[in-house]
Symmetry: C2
Subunit: 331 residues, 2 copies
Amino acid sequence: MRDIANKLGVSSVTVSKALNDKEGVSEELKDKIKQLAADMGYRFNSVARSMKDGMSYNIGVVIPERFAGANQFYLHFYEHLSKVLDSHKYYGILQILGAQDEEQLVLPRIYHEKKVDGFIILGQISKEYIELLQQTDVPFLFLDFYTDDVDIDSIISDNFYGMYEMTNYLIKQGHRKIAFVGNIYSTSSIQDRFLGYYKSILEHHLKLKEDYVIPDRDRRGIFIDLQLPDEMPTAFVCNCDHIAYILTNKLKQMGYRVPEDCSVVGFDNDIYSAICDPQLTTVEVNVEEMSQAAVKSIIQKVRNPKYTIGRQMVKGTIIHRQSVSAIRQSV
Amino acid sequence: MRDIANKLGVSSVTVSKALNDKEGVSEELKDKIKQLAADMGYRFNSVARSMKDGMSYNIGVVIPERFAGANQFYLHFYEHLSKVLDSHKYYGILQILGAQDEEQLVLPRIYHEKKVDGFIILGQISKEYIELLQQTDVPFLFLDFYTDDVDIDSIISDNFYGMYEMTNYLIKQGHRKIAFVGNIYSTSSIQDRFLGYYKSILEHHLKLKEDYVIPDRDRRGIFIDLQLPDEMPTAFVCNCDHIAYILTNKLKQMGYRVPEDCSVVGFDNDIYSAICDPQLTTVEVNVEEMSQAAVKSIIQKVRNPKYTIGRQMVKGTIIHRQSVSAIRQSV
DNA sequence: CTGAAAGCGCTTACAG
DNA sequence: CTGAAAGCGCTTACAG
């Protein structure tokens, strides 16, 4: 392409400078070159640039298989990431990490082919896989989860305070018998949400009854049947909207009215909170802001491998809907 | 990297051949080279290959903004595409086409930077934008929609026969008063689904009453309030699960029982058919097969620009659930 | 079976 | 303000 632009009588160096608005070319020449380039339908070849400076300007977004598919939340997240990357002149390449590849510690092809400058890992992966990633020289960060290793950058929703405030809110509404729904060994998100709940319980000198912590899924993340406690709580704090939705339907089937007999709250503000009847009071994860933070950080890390952010929290917001009712205190 | 491999005493040409399992290198040497490459942590540089053969091995998947976000269906589609592309050694780059860019006929950056070898357009775009695409020399095909221009390749769900068979099924169940829900001027999918419905109506010598065709959305795809006909139908054929879900709730609110008083069927087999109470009988779009077809075709087109497939249909399947009941025929 | 040469399209010093 | 030279890492003829 550039040779043809040369037929304007200048060298390719000058054309390059003009098209990139660099110094060292007169304004007239620049305009002339830009004009001709447009007329000739010239398209910049990003591959050549990548060849030169060793950057692909691609970021790999890795989602473990078990979080894709069913969980539209991460796909929705990916959509945001993709837009934000675009606005930073980068591109996202989605990589679903197969269960088998994760198990057998196989790095994705985008790694082996140097297709990407860095990774955003969206959704918790195994410890072994994390170690594998650390052995590479490719920068990466975790999005929406973290591990006990402080050295790994991660951007997470403020699960702890989100659930803490949500539980506080229920207590203010007069609730005292409050159960938590979620497998607290499953992911760091769920664990933190539980701890936020627990902090609120402790602060208000309530007891944490063992059967008030109700597991919702097995180790592979598959939902299991919920075991309700003998003494019914007046409120259920669920680790996500999906299980809150399932619980609400189960309660209704059992003859309980929501929220008159039991209040139910969720987390995520995804589609399940909207389609639930009644609609769920929930905590909205700030996907937009988290995406912005993740993209900015990974680009920084690509440019400067020593750049670190540690654990970065992004606050959520309580969305008030119809699944909570205040109760009068008896006793 | 390759120079270092050279320190095994051979040329880079030989290394290239060995790593690509090409002819002209002895088996021993190949093994030795592969071994050393693995030991040294050599990673192939796909950029250099792209530079050489002018292919990026990326396919742009373009989703108009109005179909993303709310409509998880296309994101789910993208996930499949991404996997299938991966299995063909290609990569997908998601491009949300902004409403403004579409309006002002701005081609995406992945075009201007030669980031992709071809486009899969996922979701109907404006006529003007299609003409713009035709003026480029980049191969593209339409997925899940088509236009009146026969020359443009497209892969679509067999909307027509899907809805035709669904309507036949309702008639077999004894229904005679059957309404269609959908804006028939909105997209080709909806139009075809309507026509499949209409074919069934015609074949059974039923009348198409004007108020039995109920618009569900405005020109921008925003759902509008449904205007039910004066004489209630016994069955509603909806152009998608989402509106079927909305309709079902509206009917229940008005005091009708579904399916006892009215049957409701949808299309897509997406989340709305699962969460609807009762769950919806619907037509499942074969996303997997459509993704396979789209990826194979676009790769063929990239390799040979003259390759065309025309309009390729992929059959759907009726999923039977609880939203239809048979009725006895009176009169 | 092995390798020297050339080239893909750009950019980065550097020299004029 | 402008350009000649070199190089990014690979592959494709072609010659030995």
